[in-house]
Each structure stands twice: as C-alpha cells, then as structure tokens.
C-alpha cells in the first residue's frame, strides 16, 4: 500500500498529463485527416517542424516582444505545421500520390531540415538557442501547473467531438472519408474538405511540437518528438478514430510513460523493461483492436 501511495502522487498526475498532451494533440490532428480519408503518417515530422518553428520564432521575436513572444511562437509553430501538412495534402490530394510515401517524405525532411536551419542560425546541428520567455504555466498549487497547449489539448477533445458529430462540416469530413463518390454526388467538394482536414491536422500536430519545445522546455533539441507522432497514430487506431476513444488511448499511453519514469528509480522492474512497456502495450493494443473501424476510403486517392 505504501508503495502505491508513493507511486500515485500529484507529481505522477502532472507527469501523466504532460506526457498525454502532445500525444492527444497529434492524435486529434490525425483524426481529422484520417476521417476525411487522408492517412497522415507525417504527424511525427509535423511535430518536429512545429517544435522547431515555435522555438526559433520565439527566440527571434522575443527581443522586441518580450512575454508576448511565445504566443507568436505558438502561432508560428502551428502555422508551419499546417503548411507542412498542406504540402502533404497537395502531394496526396492533387497529385494522388501514395499517402504513405508522401508522409514518409515529410518525416525524412524533418530529420534533414532542422540541422541545416540550426546550423545557419545558431552554428549547431542539434539545439536552438534557449528562449528567455517560454510559454507561461497555469494551474493550481505548485505541482499541477501546465503551459496553455495542455489545456488547449483537452479542450480540443470536446471541440473535435462537437465539430465531427454536430456540424455540417463534420458530417462532410466523415462522408468524404467513408464514401467520397457518394458525397461528391451530393455536391460536397471532396478535395476542399480533405485539404481543410489535413491542414487542421497540421495545426494540431504543430501545436504538439510547440508544447514540446517552448511549452515544456525552453529550446528545440534534435529528435525532440522521439517517435510520439507514431505513438499518436497508434492511439488513433486504438481509439477507433473517435475523439473520446483517442482521449482514452492517449491517457493510457501517457499513463504508461509516466509509470516508466516513476518506476525507473524504484528498482521494481528492470529499467529496460519499464522503458519498453509503452511500446509493448501499443503492439498488444493494435493486435486486439485491428482496423475494423477505419474510415472506409482512408488512404485511397479521390479521382472523381
């Protein structure tokens, strides 16, 4: 009992929420894109671009804007995420290229571009300069304090649910993902809906990146997302492409990440096993959920 009491502290809860937020943002982004029929495995790369842009823009403008700078950085990071996603959209919607290949190309770009840009700006291949003004922390007490993107992430669950199930736009997104020909015959502009959804996914994944660089730390570091874009994709599948399902799945993965950090010092399990836990559960989760609930037209270019 003592052990459990030591394990589930406020600090643990805070770690859980911080680990969940970026996954949740990226997975909700993926949800928009995939519900409209576009596979977005570029999430990982978009997170990195968003993180990079957020940190660099904040660092560049904080001299003149001070405490306002990280908010501009956030906007910039989200916009860059949207732009990168739009490129993925152009390749896969306009040119009807294989969406997996286009997404992989974005992910590879995300490995190559940061060192070049950081080298040009800061003479380093790995780190951006530390910002003086990171995003502020809001919350209660000393431990449960989070930067605004965290609140934004949880708020977006409700927003996404509402948009998807209670607005005409949401209906169009779902229709183009299930049966694009039928929606086209009803007068829906399938391409435009898909562009919109892909750009939204970029804005959200870019925000996930902004959280990682200036919402949680104060600089961009190489490989800052460390595979979280892929975990978010797994959470999307595990959550059956539904907003609440995605919330549950990302909370589970966040819980496992927090657990691996909390258990790491306790010598209960071998540290390497604790490290592998989130990935192990991801695989099991995928095995048991399968792809039954996938939008029917996901991954297929629209020719109509």
């Amino acid at each position: 009992m003592d052990f459990l009491q030591n394990l589930f502290t406020l600090a643990f809860l805070a770690t859980l929420i911080r680990s969940t937020a970026p996954l949740l943002l990226a997975a909700l982004g993926g949800l928009y894109s995939e519900r409209s029929g576009i596979v977005n495995i570029a999430l990982e790369g978009i997170i990195i671009f968003g993180a990079l842009a957020g940190a660099v823009i904040t660092e560049r403008v904080e001299g003149s804007l001070g405490a306002l700078a990280p908010w501009i950085g956030w906007l910039g990071g989200a916009a860059v995420g949207g732009l990168v996603a739009w490129i993925h959209g152009v390749i896969s919607i306009k040119y009807r290229a294989d969406q997996i290949i286009s997404g992989t190309a974005v992910n590879l770009l995300a490995l190559g571009v940061p060192p070049v840009l950081l080298g040009a700006l800061y003479n380093s291949a790995t780190d951006s300069k530390r910002v003086e003004n990171a995003l502020p922390l809001w919350g209660f007490g000393d431990v449960l304090r989070f930067s605004p993107p965290v609140f934004f992430a949880f708020l977006m669950v409700a927003v996404t649910w509402y948009v998807l199930y209670r607005t005409p736009y949401g209906l169009r997104i779902r229709a183009t993902g299930e049966h694009p020909q039928a929606s086209a015959s009803m007068g829906v502009n399938v391409r435009r809906v898909r562009y919109g959804a892909v750009v939204i996914s970029g804005l959200l994944a870019g925000t996930a990146g902004v959280f990682l660089s200036i919402g949680n730390l104060d600089a961009f570091t190489r490989n800052i997302s460390a595979g979280q874009g892929f975990i978010a994709l797994a959470a999307l599948i595990f959550g059956q492409w539904r907003p609440l399902g995605v919330l549950g799945a990302t909370l589970l993965f966040g819980f496992l990440r927090a657990l691996s950090i909390q258990l790491g010092g306790a010598q209960v399990l071998p540290p390497s096993l604790v490290e592998a836990l989130p990935y192990l559960i991801t695989i099991l989760a995928l095995v048991f959920t399968g792809r039954a609930a996938a939008p029917r037209a996901v991954g297929k270019p629209f020719d109509g």
């Binding site: 770690t15 060192p115 790995t126 431990v143 190489r222 460390a226 790491g264």
Partner: protein, 369 residues
C-alpha cells in the same frame, strides 16, 4: 640515385615543405549531445577553440544527426588528410578504431573509451573521483537527506559517476538516501531533456532537493526544472521525509525566490557535470543572490583535447592511454563566484582533505555500483 628516384625524392621533399607550411588540421567528431550541449561535448569544443587561438590550427566540426553517420564523418576527415581526428565520446570507439587502422599514418584521439589501434590516443577520466566529491557535498548540504542522480545512458561509463556519487554521499552522511535513475538505454538518452525534466520532478516528489545529472544534454531538463520550481516546500514532502537542516538560511535570495518560496521551504540545487555549469543556476542574472547550481563535477575534456592538439602541432603525438584524475586536476569540483556563498569555508576544507585522501589512496572509490 637514378633520375626517377631524384624526382620522387624531390617531390617528397616539396610535399614535406608544403605540409610544414599549412597549419595542422583537426577534425572533431562530436556525439549525440551536439557541440553546444553546455556539458561534455561543449567542453571538448572549447578545448579545440583554445588550441585554434594558441597554435593557429584549423578545426572542422562534425555533428552526427544519427549514429550511422559517425563512421562516414570520421572517414571523410581521414580522406581529406586531417592530421588529427578526435572522437568525442565512447560511441566513436568503433568508427575511430576502424578508420585509424586503415590510416596508420594519421593521428587519432578518443575520449572516454580505449581503442585497440596503435595510432589512437585514448583520453579517459576517473569520473568516480570527482563524483565522490560532489556526492560528499550533496549529502553535507541536503536539507532532506535525500539526493538524486540522473544518468544519461545506462552504461558502465556512467555507472562510474553513480558509484562515486553514492559512495561520497554515504561517506558524508551514512543515513542519506540516494535515488538513481537513467534517462534511457539508447544514445538518444543523451539528448532527451524532456525526460530528464520528468525524472527530476519524480525525484522531487520523493524528497530529493539536490540532484546530480551525468546525462549530457538531457541534464538541461533538470536545470530547467530547478529553474521552474526553485524550492521544495514542507507540504510537498513525502511521508518519512522531513527537513533536517537549512544550510542556506543566510544566503541572499532573489525577489522571485522569496515570492515563490515563502513559508517553510528549502532551495533545490542541481550539480552540473563535465563543464562548469554553475553559472546556469543563476536564474535571475545576478550572481550575488542565491544560485541554484551547488557545484559541478569538472571533467577537463577541454584540457585533454587541448593537450592532444598541442602534441600533434609539436610533432610529439603518441598513441596509448592517458588517464586523468584528481591528482593531475583533470577531474575537480567547481568553485567560483556562483557557489562560494553556498559551500562554506569549513566544507571546502573538509572536501580538500577528502580529495587528498583519494589521491593518497586512503579512500578507495568504487567504479561500479
């Protein structure tokens, strides 16, 4: 001597003259943390820059974005005929050894690891000795009797830090509790400040007020965390942990600290590693108020790099292993304007005695946990 031989001899002579005139070229291959990690790699970088200034050598830096690039980077230095290539970090052992064997006429150096190639100078450190000293200081100054250790990658090299730190802390206070945790098991562990920060928060929730990170750029997460929280409050202590002392009662504190840490609280500190990171604890840009870097375990990678370049420049390079420790000041703990207010004269004297005992062999510092 035939005419052809003369031509060759003359050619070689001309080459010799030419190479004497061109400056010595040094290739620096950094590891995953990158040359501006403010720690291990940066120390090597600073050593090389000092050599550039003093000996007019040329350096070229290579920062791999993933481990598979390392061997290509080192190979390209060798192909371009660099006089000396320095592999910064144990990860460079295999590539340096391979390339050194293929280029026996060139010089190589390797930090933190021992290569079997004869033209490699291996620069290793007795990190456990310095870690013992900072562990000793941590236990002397901890208000809670709980101190933390964050290791980067879970490997024998970092176990040396952990072992020394634990032994030193226990020697200063046999009841001290030490929490040790590693960031990961892959080279990415050197470059994951987000996880370093989460580990620090987990350690604080277990009552740790002084945390030592030997984790490359991941240690920046710890510093960022201390900057954010600054102190440990009585209400945050877990069961069984209480405030036992307050060594910093009389240290002048910044306005932001007094505001954030009103009531029954104790300051938190990090202990830096490799480079002198004390200055990073000066969060309010005023060294006179309390800084949150208790001290740093100095590993003079810069000196090792500088001396090696100096030797090559003087034509006196020799392969083999050179080990640095407390005795030759290759290992030390940092004391400067940022932490003289934190470490009392009495403590300085105690630690000086411990240091002398280690050098004399009276204290045996373990190298494995």
């Amino acid at each position: 001597m035939t005419k052809l031989n003369k031509v060759i001899a003359f050619g070689l002579l001309a080459l010799g003259v030419a190479s004497a005139q061109t400056p010595v070229r040094v290739g620096m291959a950094y590891d995953a943390g990158g040359k501006f990690d403010r720690s291990f790699n940066q120390s090597a970088y600073e050593g090389s820059q000092r050599a550039v200034k003093d000996f007019k050598v040329q350096t070229k830096d290579f920062e791999p974005t993933d481990p598979s690039q390392v061997v290509q980077g080192i190979q390209s230095f060798a192909q371009a005929g660099f006089d000396l290539t320095i592999g910064v970090g144990f990860n460079n052992n295999a590539p340096i050894t391979t390339v050194a064997k293929a280029n026996p006429d060139l010089n190589f150096a390797l930090i933190d690891s021992v290569s079997e190639a004869p033209n490699v100078r291996n620069l290793t450190f007795r990190e456990q000795e310095g870690s013992y000293l900072v562990g000793y200081l941590a236990a002397l100054n901890s208000s809670t009797g709980v101190v933390g250790f964050i290791g980067g990658m879970d490997i024998p090299l970092i176990h040396k830090f952990e072992a020394g730190y634990k032994a030193g802390a226990k020697a200063a206070n046999k009841n001290v509790k030490i929490i040790a945790q590693y960031v990961g098991t892959t080279p990415d562990a050197w470059n994951n400040p987000a996880k370093g920060k989460e580990i620090a928060s987990s350690m604080k929730s277990q009552g740790a007020d002084i945390i030592y990170a030997a984790a490359g750029a991941s240690g920046n997460g710890l510093i960022d965390y201390i900057k954010q929280t600054q102190c440990l409050k009585a209400a945050q202590l877990p069961k069984g942990v209480t405030f036992k002392s307050d060594n910093f009662k009389n240290v002048a504190k910044s306005a932001s600290y007094t505001k954030a840490c009103a009531g029954n609280s104790r300051p938190m500190f990090f202990i830096g590693v490799d480079s002198n990171q004390n200055y990073l604890g000066d969060f309010d840009k005023n060294p006179k108020t309390m800084n949150h870097g208790l001290t740093s375990m100095l590993k003079r990678v810069d000196v090792a790099v500088y001396e090696t370049i100096k030797a090559v420049n003087a034509g006196a390079f020799k392969g083999g292993t050179q080990e640095f420790g407390l005795k030759d000041n290759g290992i030390a703990y940092a004391l400067d304007q940022y932490n003289t207010a934190l470490i009392s004269k009495a403590q300085q004297a105690t630690v000086a005695k411990v240091r002398a005992d280690i050098i004399a062999g009276k204290i045996k510092v373990p190298t494995d946990r």
